[in-house]
C-alpha cells in the first residue's frame, strides 16, 4: 500500500514537472522578440529531445568509450582490452561466432521467408499458413531458447530420451547426439533457433512487398514468354528490392546483438559465446567492466555501417516515390 502510494505520487509529480517545463518553454518561445522568434522556436522545441538524447545516448556512449580503455580497477590501460580481445583464444572464438551468426542468420531467414512468401502467395489458406510461420516471432528469445533446449535434450543411449530430436534419432536406430556440447556444430544448432524466429518476420514483410508489385508487370513478362523463374528473377526481385534490404539489415542488426538465445541455451559455454554475451559476462560477472565496454564498442562499430546503409536505402526510396 505504502509502496504503491509512494510510486503513484512520484508519477504524478513527474508528470506535473513535465507539464510545467513544456508550458514554460512554450511561454518563453511565445514571448521571444520578433527578430529571433524562428530561431527560439526551433531551439525551444528541439531542446527537450536534444537534452534527453545527450543524457540517455551521447553521455553513456562517451562513458562506455572511455571505460573501454581502463582496467578492472578503473586505471587507464591504453589498448590492453582490445589486445586481449584480439589475442585471447576465447575472445577470438567469440568474435568468430558473431561473424558466423551475422552471415548465416540474415541470409537463411530471408531466403526461407522469401521462398515461403512466394510459394504461398495467393494459395488457399494463405492466412493460416502465414500465421503458422509468423507465430515464433511472438515468442521471446528466452522462451524460444528454453523450448529448443528441450528439443535438443540428450540422454545416454540406453536411457529413455527426453529431447524430441534424439527421440526420433533413437527410434530410427541411430545414436543420440549431444547437440549443444560439440563445437562448432552447436553454434549451428543455436543459429537454427534464431532463423526459426526471424523467418516469420522476413516472410510477412516480403509477402506484403510481393503483393505491392504491379500485376501488369508480371502479366507483361508472362506475355513476353518469361517462365516462372524468369518472372521472379527479373520482375519480383527488383520490385521488392527495398523491402529485401530492410529485412536483411534489420535481421543483421538483431543478430549482431543476439544474447538471450545463447545465454539461455549454453550460457556461452562450449565455444558458443557471442560478443553481446561476452560483454555482459565480462562487465557484470567477471568484474572487468573495461573489457565489457571494449566489446560493446566493437559491437557498436559493427552495427554502425549497417544502420547507416539501412537509413540511406530508405531515404533513396523515399526520393523515388
Amino acid at each position: 500500500m505504502e509502496f504503491i502510494g509512494e510510486k503513484l505520487l512520484q508519477v504524478v509529480i513527474a508528470l506535473a514537472i513535465f507539464a510545467a517545463v513544456i508550458g514554460l518553454i512554450m511561454l518563453l518561445v511565445d514571448r521571444a522578440p520578433k527578430s529571433i522568434k524562428d530561431k527560439v522556436t526551433v531551439a525551444g522545441f528541439l531542446a527537450p529531445a536534444a537534452i534527453l538524447m545527450l543524457v540517455g545516448l551521447v553521455y553513456p556512449a562517451i562513458r562506455t568509450s572511455t571505460l573501454a580503455f581502463t582496467d578492472a580497477g578503473g586505471n587507464v590501460n591504453g589498448f590492453d582490452n582490445f589486445v586481449w580481445m584480439f589475442t585471447q583464444p576465447e575472445a577470438l572464438t567469440t568474435l568468430r561466432n558473431t561473424v558466423i551468426w551475422t552471415v548465416l542468420v540474415p541470409l537463411l531467414s530471408t531466403s526461407f521467408g522469401l521462398a515461403y512468401a512466394v510459394f504461398i502467395d495467393k494459395a488457399r489458406g494463405e492466412k493460416v499458413l502465414k500465421s503458422l510461420v509468423f507465430m515464433p516471432m511472438a515468442i521471446s528469445f528466452v522462451g524460444a531458447g528454453i523450448i529448443w533446449k528441450l528439443v535438443y535434450d540428450y540422454r545416454g543411449p540406453n536411457i529413455e530420451q527426453t529431447g524430441v530430436i534424439n527421440f526420433f534419432l533413437v527410434s530410427l536406430g541411430m545414436e543420440p547426439k549431444q547437440f549443444l556440447l560439440d563445437a562448432p556444430g552447436n553454434t549451428m544448432f543455436l543459429i537454427i533457433v534464431m532463423v526459426w524466429i526471424q523467418t516469420g518476420f522476413a516472410m510477412v514483410i516480403l509477402s506484403a512487398a510481393i503483393k505491392g508489385v504491379p500485376v501488369e508487370l508480371t502479366e507483361a513478362a508472362r506475355l513476353d514468354g518469361a517462365n516462372a523463374w524468369q518472372q521472379f528473377r527479373n520482375v519480383t526481385i527488383p520490385g521488392i528490392r527495398g523491402a529485401l534490404v530492410v529485412v536483411l539489415t534489420t535481421i543483421t542488426i538483431a543478430t549482431l546483438k543476439v544474447f538471450d538465445i545463447v545465454r539461455t541455451m549454453t550460457a556461452g559455454n562450449y565455444d558458443t559465446s557471442v560478443v553481446a554475451n561476452e560483454m555482459y559476462t565480462q562487465a557484470f560477472r567477471a568484474g572487468e567492466p573495461g573489457r565489457g565496454a571494449a566489446l560493446a564498442l566493437i559491437l557498436f562499430l559493427m552495427v554502425l555501417p549497417i544502420v547507416v546503409y539501412n537509413a540511406r536505402v530508405l531515404r533513396k526510396q523515399r526520393e523515388i516515390h
Partner: protein, 448 residues
C-alpha cells in the same frame, strides 16, 4: 519529511485510510501488536522509535519470509522498522547502488570477495566494537577473517551452509551390504565395486548445469579435494593466489576428482555419459539416488530442499548424507562451506543495534528455529535445528576439530571465482585435460 510524502495518497484514499488507521492504532513503531511478548532479551539493543533500517540481500521467497520473521520481535521491542529487500540480482546490483549513492543501510553478502570489493572501494563502514566482540565470542577465528579486509573488520557472519555432503539412499546401502566409507580410498573402492557389480546402477550421479553459472557444482568438488588432500595451508595459498592455479598440487586434485567425474563407469546414473553432467541441472541431478539408478551424489546441505516433497531425509529414511571423507587423515576433519556476511553502509545507532542483533546468538537461535538453515554461531543451541540434517550440519560446524574453509571460488576474484573457474570446469568435463584447464584459469587471474 517522510510523513508528508504519504499525505496525498492517504487523503485520496480517505475512507480506506481511516479504516486502516483504526485497525493499527498509531503507526509509529508498530509496538502495539507485540505488547504481550517479553522484551527483556532485547533491552541491550536500546530504543530507537520511528527509525528505519533498510536491508538488501540475495535471500528471496520462503527464506526471506523466515528471515523477516526472525527479527519481528527485535523490531517491536526496539522500535526499529526493518525494510527488507531480497533480489537474485544482488551481486551486480549492490555495486551499481553503492556507486549511485542509493546503497542500503545494511547488505548481506553471500561472497566475502564481493564484500572486500565494496570495502576497498570505501563504501562500507567498519563494524562497531560490539559486533566485533560478539564475533570473537561466537565464531571461530576463520569466520572473523572472512569479514576482515586489509586489516579492518567489517562484517559479521550470519548463517552458514556446509558443502561436500555425499547423499545416498540408506536402504540401498543396507540391502547391498555397503558401508559408509571412512576414507576417500574406501569411497573409490566402493564406487568401483558398484560399477562392477550392477550394470543398471552407476556409483555416482552429477549435474553441473545452472544457466549462466554452469560449472559451479564442479568447483565444490575441486575445493573439497584440495582441502582434504593438501590441507588448509595449501588451500589458503591457492585461494589467495600465493601458489599459481596450475600448481601441481591443484592439477593433482583435479585428477583425483576426475577419477570419479571423468570416468564413464563412475557417472552419470540416469542421464548417460560423462558429458551429460554438463546438461543436467544441479537440482535434478540427485534424483536418481531415490530410484537406485545411481548410488551417490555430491552436493551441499541445501540439497535437502531439492528432493521431491515427502522425501524422508534421515539416517534411516529415504536419503541421508555423509561428509566427503578425508583423503589424507593427517590434514584433519576438513569441510568447505559458505555463509553470509553482514556489512553496513551507515553507522547510525539503529544500524549498529541491528548489526549487533544479527551477530548475536539470539538471532541465530530465532532463525534456525524456523527451519531450513543453520548457523556457525557457537551460541546456537543444536536442539533448535529443525531437521536431522540441520542437526548434523550444526554438529559439524560446532565441532572444535572441524577444519572449516570458506568456498574457495567465493573468495577468489570474480574474474576467476565466478567466471573462468566455472568455465574451466565445463571444458574439463567436456574433455580438456586437467593441466590445460588449470593453465587457462591461471592465465585469467587478474594482474592487479
Amino acid at each position: 519529511m517522510k510523513k508528508t510524502k504519504y499525505l496525498l495518497p492517504v487523503a485520496a484514499a480517505g475512507v480506506l485510510a481511516l479504516t486502516l488507521s483504526a485497525c493499527s492504532g498509531d503507526g509509529g513503531g508498530g509496538g502495539s501488536t507485540a505488547g504481550s511478548d517479553d522484551c527483556s532479551a532485547y533491552e541491550s539493543y536500546g530504543k530507537h522509535d520511528g527509525k528505519t533500517v533498510s536491508v538488501y540481500s540475495t535471500i528471496v521467497d520462503i527464506e526471506a519470509t523466515n528471515l523477516e520473521e526472525s527479527w519481528k520481535q527485535f523490531e517491536s521491542c526496539t522500535g526499529i522498522t526493518i525494510k527488507y529487500e531480497g533480489s537474485k540480482e544482488f551481486e551486480t546490483q549492490i555495486g551499481v547502488r553503492a556507486q549511485s549513492g542509493t546503497a542500503p543501510d545494511v547488505a548481506i553478502f553471500p561472497q566475502p570477495g564481493l564484500l572486500a570489493t565494496q570495502a576497498r572501494a570505501g563504501y562500507l563502514k567498519p563494524a562497531p566494537k560490539t559486533v566485533s566482540d560478539l564475533v570473537d565470542k561466537n565464531w571461530s577465528p576463520d569466520w572473523k577473517k572472512y569479514g576482515t579486509v586489509d586489516g579492518t573488520y567489517y562484517a559479521a557472519p550470519m548463517l552458514a551452509n556446509v558443502k561436500g555432503f555425499v547423499w545416498y539412499a540408506p536402504k540401498t546401502f543396507k540391502d547391498k551390504g555397503w558401508e559408509v566409507p571412512k576414507t576417500w580410498d574406501e569411497m573409490i573402492d566402493l564406487s568401483k565395486k558398484i560399477a562392477a557389480d550392477d550394470p543398471n546402477m552407476k556409483p555416482w550421479c552429477a549435474g553441473f548445469e545452472s544457466g549462466e553459472a554452469t560449472g559451479w557444482p564442479g568447483t565444490d568438488w575441486i575445493e573439497d579435494v584440495v582441502l582434504r588432500a593438501h590441507g588448509p595451508e595449501v588451500y589458503d595459498q591457492w585461494v589467495a593466489h600465493e601458489i599459481p592455479f596450475n600448481d601441481p598440487k591443484i592439477v593433482d586434485s583435479f585428477n583425483k576428482a576426475g577419477d570419479i567425474l571423468l570416468n564413464k563407469d563412475m557417472v552419470n546414473g540416469g542421464f548417460g555419459d560423462v558429458r551429460t553432467i554438463l546438461s543436467t541441472g544441479f537440482a535434478q541431478a540427485g534424483q536418481p539416488v531415490l530410484d537406485g539408478t545411481c548410488a551417490m551424489h555430491h552436493q551441499a546441505n541445501f540439497q535437502a530442499a531439492n528432493w521431491p516433497a515427502g522425501t524422508n531425509v534421515a539416517e534411516d529414511g529415504d536419503v541421508w548424507a555423509f561428509i566427503t571423507p578425508p583423503i589424507d587423515e593427517s590434514k584433519g576433519k576438513a569441510v568447505t562451506g559458505g555463509g553470509e556476511m553482514v556489512g553496513a553502509y551507515k553507522d547510525t545507532a539503529e544500524v549498529q543495534s541491528f548489526l549487533a542483533y544479527l551477530a548475536s546468538a539470539d538471532f541465530a537461535n530465532n532463525r534456525v528455529k524456523l527451519g531450513g538453515v543453520v548457523s556457525a554461531n557457537k551460541g546456537l543451541d543444536p536442539n533448535n535445528a529443525q531437521s536431522d540434517l540441520d542437526k548434523l550440519t550444526v554438529q559439524i560446524l560446532q565441532d572444535p576439530e572441524t577444519v572449516f574453509r570458506f568456498d574457495g571460488s567465493d573468495l577468489m576474484p570474480s574474474a576467476v571465482g565466478s567466471n573462468s573457474f566455472w568455465k574451466g570446469i565445463v571444458q574439463w568435463i567436456n574433455g580438456t585435460s586437467s593441466q590445460d584447464v588449470a593453465n587457462s584459469i591461471e592465465s585469467s587471474w587478474p594482474k592487479s
